[in-house]
């Protein structure tokens, strides 16, 4: 069959959702942020909540998330997205409020905010992008950096005696009574993307059922920070990140 006979509007099975704006993403080629943005946009479109969703963007590469998703946004000080989300949700309980944070933002400077927001059981969604490095500032060591991983500030690899141990923030969050759904997902292949989408949809639905905080960690790549091409970055993530950060639901109630 000729390709022009197939390319007709009635045969379209997948395309860019209108929630995503036409701006070209500033992320590096192959960055997981783009996939997660797309998933969130698709979930918002499927649930029909475009005018009821408020996102809180962090400091980091994803600070410009408000340029890409056509919803209401606020931009928080470094690490303070859960605090801002708390205020937003309490003032407007009929809105879906989510934060979108990287590991430098959530697991480092914002640890206190995220812990206490989860412990209070705020009815928000926290989406945590864990790429084990500070991407925006040039690939420095983050709290989540693996032992032995080479970064700009650990050129001989992270050493436990000098730099401490990598922080499993999602496991810590899962112990808190305020959380209702804590999961760790990834986006390196189509199956993983679909699972993550399901998890994010569930988290959004939980936030309206007043069950507590939903926390979705997405183990991601930072090919520029890791200094590897995108496809090898996905492979490196599967081989090195997944044994330390195992995927799956930690809590679901």
């Amino acid at each position: 069959m000729d390709i022009n006979e197939i390319i007709k509007p009635e045969n379209k099975v997948y395309g860019k959702t209108p929630i995503l704006k036409d701006n070209i993403l500033h992320y590096c080629p192959g960055c997981s942020h783009g996939v997660v943005h797309k998933i969130i946009a698709e979930v918002i479109e499927e649930m029909g909540i475009q005018d009821k969703t408020i996102g809180i963007s962090p400091v980091g590469c994803s600070v410009f998330a408000y340029n890409y998703l056509d919803i209401d946004w606020q931009q928080a000080a470094h690490g303070r997205a859960p605090a801002l989300a708390t205020a937003t949700k309490r003032l407007m309980p009929d809105k879906y409020v989510f934060t979108y944070q990287g590991d430098g933002d959530l697991a480092s400077i914002g640890t206190a905010e995220v812990m206490h927001a989860c412990n209070r059981g705020e009815n928000i969604v926290i989406i945590f992008i864990n790429n084990a490095i500070y991407g925006m500032t040039g690939g420095q060591m983050a709290p989540t950096t693996l032992l032995g991983q080479v970064t700009a500030t650990t050129p001989y690899g992270r050493k436990a005696e000098l730099n401490g141990y990598p922080l499993k923030i999602t496991e810590l969050i899962a112990q808190l009574e305020g959380t209702c759904y804590v999961t760790r997902q990834s986006v390196q292949n189509p199956a993983a993307v679909r699972k993550t989408k399901k998890a994010i949809r569930k988290a959004f639905e939980n936030s309206m059922m007043k069950k507590g905080t939903s926390f979705v960690e997405v183990v991601s790549t930072c090919n520029s920070g890791w200094k590897v091409p995108p496809v090898q970055a996905n492979k490196w993530m599967e081989e090195n990140m997944f044994p330390f950060y195992p995927l799956g639901d930690m809590k679901d109630r």
Binding site: M1, I3, E5, I6, I7, K8, N11, K12, V13, Y14, G15, K16, T17, L20, I24, L25, Y27, C28, P29, G30, C31, S32, H33, G34, V35, K38, V187, Q188, N189, P190, V193, R194, P229, P230, V231, N234
Partner: protein
């Protein structure tokens, strides 16, 4: 049931990361030797007859540049 697919790539937005190429089950797509306005080797459908329209490439695309069409044959 056999399906025949086709994709349309927004080649000016494509950054040529190649994540889609390794996720294509039928080797229908590859990065082109030409470059777009930003100097990236954009994605192209090199073997249109092999495309089954599974949408794997579009699902993993970080920049949402791929639109997928599918017909039953």
């Amino acid at each position: 049931m056999a399906t025949q697919g086709a994709i349309v790539v927004d080649k000016e937005r494509c950054k040529g990361c190649g994540v889609c190429v390794v996720n294509c089950p039928t080797e229908a797509i590859a990065l082109s030797h030409e470059v777009n306005g930003k100097g990236y080797n954009f994605l192209s459908l090199v073997n249109p007859e092999k495309c089954i329209g599974c949408a794997n490439c579009a699902t993993v695309c970080p920049d949402s540049v791929i639109t997928v069409y599918r017909v039953k044959i």
